[in-house]
């Protein structure tokens, strides 16, 4: 069990390194697409991204699931009306979920900030 946990932790940490590979000049949608692709390939974690518009969660990026999963759909609000949806969220531990959300929020914030700077410039 311990070994399994270690492996999971290791896979997750390796996957987190992908965030470092996403260059700052990559805009929000391609950046989120890359995160989603890495998550599916490396962890089997299905995530896709949306713009939250009241009740509407409108697709903007990420891998497309063409089969329902046998677990609940989780919807997590990030900042700036961006949301992440997952049908395999339970494969992550709470610590991993918190870390992922922190990094996604940063990724969104960095891009929104650079967009504002661009607009001002």
């Amino acid at each position: 069990m311990l070994l399994k946990m270690d492996k999971e932790t290791s896979d997750f940490d390796k996957w987190l390194q992908c965030f470092g590979l996403i260059t700052d000049d990559l805009e929000l949608v391609p950046a989120l697409s890359a995160v989603s692709k890495f998550a599916g390939d490396a962890l089997g974690l299905n995530i896709w991204f949306v713009e939250i518009l009241g009740r509407r969660w409108s697709y903007i990026a990420g891998e497309i699931m063409d089969q329902p999963a046998n677990s609940d759909i989780h919807r997590i609000s990030l900042q700036d009306n961006i949301g992440v949806v997952s049908d395999t969220w339970e494969i992550l531990s709470q610590t991993q979920r918190d870390k992922l959300i922190e990094l996604l929020n940063k990724l969104v914030a960095d891009r929104q900030a650079s967009r504002c700077q661009g607009a001002n410039g």
């Binding site: 713009e51 009241g54 009740r55 509407r56 697709y59 497309i64 329902p68 046998n70």
Partner: protein, 489 residues
């Protein structure tokens, strides 16, 4: 509002640059001569060729104009029977044996236009004009929620008093209204074409699908039935309404034509070209739904009685079938304009959505006046049966009534939806979600008789659910029996 202020408002609605950016060499995508040529050149099609086209439709590929023209020209009854069956087969492959149900909610019949076929036109002085207050919108919504509805199509005339601000306020009011377990979970709208800036505002309040019907794709007829000087007389402003919606990020869009203004075969071709142009310009995303209302009698609108292009029941079934075969991925809406016997028949050639317990008078759900009053509505309905009756009949026909709004609340919209619909995978979600939402309806709103029939159908449909998700579905059904609501895949 003064006449001058009204005139000024009208003059400022259309933004030419939001038309011109979509034109190709100054022309729109409806080439009347080309459509007529396709129809002419594909007369008397060879049965072998028709069967090849049917096979292509069954592979869920969208047809090309010459192929659709060939289908429209079929005369042989046996071939039509094959096409009817294929329509249902395609629908079942993409969406499964379920029918999504909704209700229309008319918020205002104030209108600045003069469309000859519509009772809302400004010259019709016998129409009793009214715009619902937000409190009245809430009362109408409560009345609908109490019947079990979860989705609405909200309709507005084109007028400064029912402008984008009013539309946004009414949508918000509808979403905020709750009665016990019930609420409206998806608000689609049918409104006049908007600018991109205004569409972004509607997007921000969370509209479901934005629906604009071209009425007729035939340029000359369009000009005849929409008198010059009105906003609606601008064919291209309307034609590109949904391109602008896509541009604004409203990614579920709905097209339609009013059948009976011009040759029905031409209109089907127009709808196909509309779908193709949307696909080409927006990364494969075509119409979420296609509607095919037939011209119905409207107060003080003689054209609705006298039109030489009125569509017979036989041709109506044929045109619905050809649309199904031509654009296999799209949802198709059969409305209560049609009488029950037509709905019973035509739903079986591949329709995916229908309305029930419909009232189209302003304030008609919560007020006590008679079921249909011509001076208060746009046209006369053919089917005013209750949601319970329609749901029961659909169940007897083997259809799950679906109140599902899952896709739009977990990001399966726009290109996501198109991707799975075009692959015939959306049914994997539609069927279990239909079962869950139908179960909710049966427990909360259905009559004893409907509940019994509905529960039997659910039992049958559960047997066909893939093993992987069946245990989860059963757990969720159990949770619904224990009072949980709004569960979904």
């Amino acid at each position: 509002m003064s006449k001058t202020a009204l005139k000024e408002w009208v003059s400022e609605v259309i933004k030419e640059d939001e038309i011109n950016c979509y034109l190709d060499g100054g022309r729109d995508f409806i080439d009347d001569d080309l459509i007529k040529r396709h129809l002419r050149e594909n007369r008397n099609p060879d049965p072998g060729k028709i069967r090849d086209i049917i096979d292509k439709s069954l592979s869920l590929a969208r047809l090309e104009p010459h192929e659709t023209a060939a289908l429209l020209n079929v005369e042989d009854d046996e071939l039509w029977e094959e096409m009817f069956k294929t329509g249902l087969e395609i629908k079942n492959r993409v969406y499964g044996p379920r029918i999504v149900t909704f209700a229309p909610l008319y918020c205002s019949n104030l209108c600045v236009n003069s469309c000859l076929y519509c009772a809302f036109r400004k010259e019709n002085t016998e129409e009793k004009r009214r715009r619902l207050t937000l409190d009245e919108v809430r009362r109408e919504t409560e009345a609908l929620v109490k019947t079990g509805h979860k989705r609405l199509i909200v309709v507005y005339g084109e007028h400064p008093l029912s402008d984008t601000d009013y539309i946004a306020d009414t949508i918000q009011t509808i979403y905020d209204t709750k009665v016990d377990n019930g609420e409206i979970r998806r608000v689609n709208i049918n409104a006049a074409p908007q600018t991109i800036a205004n569409l972004k505002r509607l997007k921000d309040v969370g509209i479901g699908t934005f629906q604009v019907f071209q009425e007729t794709y035939h340029h000359e007829t369009y000009k005849k039935v929409h008198p010059a000087g009105t906003i609606k007389s601008n064919y291209q402003w309307r034609l590109y309404a949904l391109h602008r919606a896509q541009e604004a990020g409203v990614d579920d869009i709905a097209i339609g034509a009013l059948f009976g203004l011009y040759d029905w075969k031409f209109e089907v071709m127009g709808l196909l070209y509309h779908a193709i142009d949307l696909e080409e310009k927006f990364d494969g995303v075509g119409p979420h739904t296609i509607s095919f209302p037939r011209l119905e009698p409207a107060a003080n609108s003689p054209i609705t009685i006298n039109s030489s292009y009125k569509v017979s029941g036989r041709d109506f079934k044929r045109l619905v079938t050809v649309i199904r075969l031509s654009v296999p991925y799209t949802g198709m809406i059969l409305t209560a304009r049609e009488p029950p016997e037509i709905r019973r028949d035509v739903i079986n050639v591949g329709c995916t959505q229908t309305d029930a317990s419909s009232r189209i008078g302003i304030g008609a759900y919560s007020e006590t006046y008679g079921m249909q009053v011509s001076e208060r509505q746009q046209f006369m309905l053919g089917d005013t049966r209750s949601l319970d009756e329609v749901t029961r009949e659909l169940a007897q026909m083997g259809y799950l009534t679906s109140f599902c709004t899952a896709g739009y609340r977990c990001g399966r919209t726009g290109s996501y939806f198109m991707n799975i619909a075009k692959k015939g995978k959306v049914r994997e979600f539609c069927i279990p979600n239909a079962i869950l939402t139908f179960k909710e309806y049966l427990l909360d709103y259905a009559s004893e008789e409907t509940r019994k029939i509905g529960e039997n159908l659910i039992e049958q449909r559960i047997n066909n659910i893939p093993k992987k998700i069946k245990p989860v579905l059963l757990r969720r059904l159990h949770a619904i029996e224990n009072g949980q609501r709004d569960l979904r895949f």
